[in-house]
C-alpha cells in the first residue's frame, strides 16, 4: 500500500528544533467583542516541554486566547507562532501536531464514542487509515473509556464526555496539547487521572498548555504559569519565578526579641514586626537565604528556638492579582 510507504516518515524523531523555540509565542494578541476587549495585548510564551498553567477567573479571556491560537477566532491584532510557524497561515501544517480540548467536549450524541473518534480520525489527512482502529482503541484506553466505547455519546456522563474529549486530543502523537479546563466535570479520581496523564505526556516530550480556574490542581503539575485577568496577562514565568513575586516570610521564634530584630534589620529584611505574645519576629525574606538569617540571629546572641520560612501559596498570589470575591469581573 502506498499509504504505508508515505507513513514511514510519519513518526516524529525527537525534538525537531532548538529548545529555545517556544511551543507557543504570541505578541500583542488582541481580540474585541464589540466594545469589550476580551483579550488585550497578550504576549504568551510557552517554552517547549513546559506544562504551562494558564490561569484566570471565569471570563478572563483564556478560552478566547486558545481559540485564536487554534485558528477558530481571528485576532484583531497581534501575531501568533505555534511550533515555530505563523498561525493561522500554517494551520494545516501545525494543527496535526496539536491536540486540543476547547471549552469542553463536543461530539455527535447519536454516535458511539468509537464512532465519534473515527469521524475525527478519518477527517485528519495526516492520520494513517491503516492504524486508525488501533489508535482509537489506544486513545480510549488511555483515558479509561474502553468499557464505554460502544455506548452512544448521549448516554455518557459528564466525566465520560470529558474523557472522550481528551481521547480525541490523543488520537495522534502530539507535540503540543492545548487543554481548556480539562478537569471540568470530573470526579476527584478523574481529576487525579488527568494530572497523571498530563505528567505522562510531558515526560514523553510534549508541551502542554492547561487552562484552568482551579489553582490547586495546576500548581501540582505546572512548570510554568500565566495569570490572566480582565483580558490581560498579568504574570508569566516558571512556577518559582511567579511565586517569588510574592515574597516569602521568615518567622524567628526567640525569647531575645530585641537582638533578633536588630539582626534582621541589619540583614536588610523589610517589614519586620514583633509579636511579643508568641515571642516571634517576622520579616519579608526577599533575596536573603534562610540559613543566613539563622546565622545572623545566633551571631547577635539571641537564643534561636525556631525558624520557619513561609512561601506564599499560588492562591494568595492569584487572589492578590485578580481580586477577591466570587464575582465574574466583567
Amino acid at each position: 500500500m502506498t499509504a504505508a510507504a508515505t507513513a514511514a516518515a510519519t513518526t516524529t524523531q525527537g525534538p525537531p528544533y532548538d529548545a529555545v523555540v517556544p511551543a507557543i509565542r504570541t505578541t500583542g494578541l488582541t481580540r474585541r467583542f464589540g466594545s469589550q476587549v476580551a483579550v488585550s495585548a497578550v504576549d504568551l510564551l510557552v517554552p517547549r516541554g513546559a506544562v504551562y498553567g494558564f490561569l484566570g477567573p471565569n471570563g478572563s479571556g483564556k478560552t478566547t486566547t486558545i481559540r485564536m491560537l487554534l485558528g477558530l477566532l481571528a485576532a484583531d491584532s497581534g501575531e501568533i507562532e505555534m511550533l515555530g510557524q505563523p498561525m493561522p497561515d500554517a494551520l494545516a501544517q501545525v494543527l496535526p501536531r496539536v491536540g486540543a480540548l476547547i471549552e469542553g467536549p463536543a461530539f455527535h450524541p447519536y454516535l458511539t464514542g468509537t464512532a465519534n473518534l473515527r469521524r475525527l480520525d478519518v477527517s485528519d489527512a495526516t492520520a494513517n487509515p491503516a492504524t486508525s482502529k488501533e489508535r482509537i482503541a489506544a486513545a480510549l484506553s488511555r483515558v479509561g473509556l474502553t468499557a464505554a466505547a460502544g455506548k452512544k455519546y448521549r448516554n455518557y456522563s459528564l466525566g465520560m464526555k470529558q474523557r472522550l474529549g481528551l481521547a480525541a486530543a490523543l488520537l495522534q502523537p502530539r507535540d503540543l496539547l492545548v487543554l481548556d479546563e480539562p478537569t471540568n466535570g470530573l470526579d476527584p479520581q478523574g481529576t487525579r487521572e488527568v494530572r497523571h496523564l498530563v505528567r505522562e505526556l510531558a515526560q514523553d516530550g510534549a508541551t502542554v498548555l492547561v487552562s484552568s480556574h482551579l489553582l490547586a490542581e495546576v500548581e501540582q503539575i505546572a512548570t510554568h504559569i500565566g495569570i490572566m485577568s480582565g483580558g490581560e496577562l498579568l504574570r508569566q514565568g516558571t512556577l518559582t519565578e511567579v511565586l517569588s513575586d510574592g515574597d516569602a516570610v521568615v518567622t524567628v521564634t526567640t525569647p531575645d526579641l530585641g537582638e533578633a530584630l536588630e539582626a534582621l534589620l541589619l540583614l536588610g529584611l523589610a517589614d519586620a514586626t514583633l509579636d511579643r505574645e508568641h515571642q516571634q519576629v517576622q520579616a519579608r525574606l526577599g533575596e536573603i537565604p534562610a540559613e543566613a538569617v539563622a546565622q545572623a540571629v545566633i551571631n547577635a546572641g539571641a537564643r534561636l528556638r525556631g525558624l520557619t520560612v513561609e512561601r506564599p501559596h499560588l492562591e494568595d498570589l492569584f487572589v492578590s492579582l485578580t481580586g477577591e470575591g466570587f464575582d465574574v469581573l466583567r
Binding site: 508515505t6 528544533y17 485558528g71 481571528a74 447519536y110
Partner: protein, 286 residues
Amino acid sequence: MSFADLTLPVVRPRYRGAFWRLYKGEVGISLRRRRNLALLAVLSAIPLMIGIAVYLSTPRAGDGPAFLGQITGNGLFLVFTALTVCIPVFLPLVVGVVSGDSIAGEAGSGTLRYLLTVPVTRTRLLVAKTLGVATFTALAVAVVAVVGLVTGAVLFGLGNVTLLSGDTVSLGTGLLRALGVSAYVMVALFGLAAGGMFISTLTENAIAAMATTIGLVMVSALLDAVPQLSAIHGVLLTHNWLGFGEFLRSNVDTAAVLRWSALHLAYAAVFLSLAWARLQSKDVTS
C-alpha cells in the same frame, strides 16, 4: 533570537485519499442519523402509498396529479407521479433539513471547532459538506424514483411508454427518460441545497437554518404565482423544477433543459461562493 536559522519544523505527511475518507465520513454520518433515515422512509412511503391507492381505486385519465391515470397501464408512470408529488414540498423539505443542518448543526453542537482543529481546512470542509449534501439530495430523489419503479413494476407491470406528445417509445427508452427525469430533479434541487448550506453558515441554530431554507422555497413559489411578477419568473429558484416534463416529450428540447440546468447550477455556484466567503470569515465561537 532569530528564527531563521532553526531546523525546519516537522511537517506530517498526508495520506492519499484523505478527501475521499472525509467525504465518506460525512455521508456515513448523515446515513447513520435516525432523523435522516426517517426522512428517507417518508419519501419512500409516498410512491408506495400512491401505488397502493391507485391499485385499489383505478383513477381515470386527468384525475389527480400528472401521470396518475397512466399508472395502471404502466408502472413506470408511478416514478413520474411520485416525483411530481414530491418535488413541491417533500423533497425540498428533506433537502432543507439536511443542507440547513450541514454547518449550523456542527456549529451548534460544537463539533465544528473540533473538525476545524483536526485540522480540516474550511474550504475542504465546505467542499466535503457540499458533496455530502448533494449525495443525500441525489439519494432522496433516487429513493422516490426507485421505490416508485419497484412498486409500479410489482403492482402494474412495465411496458412501452406513451410520452406526453402521444408517441410511444420502448420500455428501455422509457427507463432512460426516467433516468433523465431523476437526474434533472437532482440538479434542480442542488440550487436549493447550496442555498441551505449558505444559510447554514450564517447561524449556529440548525432549526432556524432549516426553516429559512424551506422558507426560500415557499417565497420562490409564491413569487412564481404572482402574475404581475412574470418578468422575473424565469429566474426564480423553483420556476423550472417541473421542467423534467421535457424528458417526456417526443422531441426533447435539449437546449431548454440545459438552460434550466445551468440556472440551477448558477444558483448553486452563487450560494456556495457565498457560503465559502462566510465560512472563511466566520468566528467559531460555539
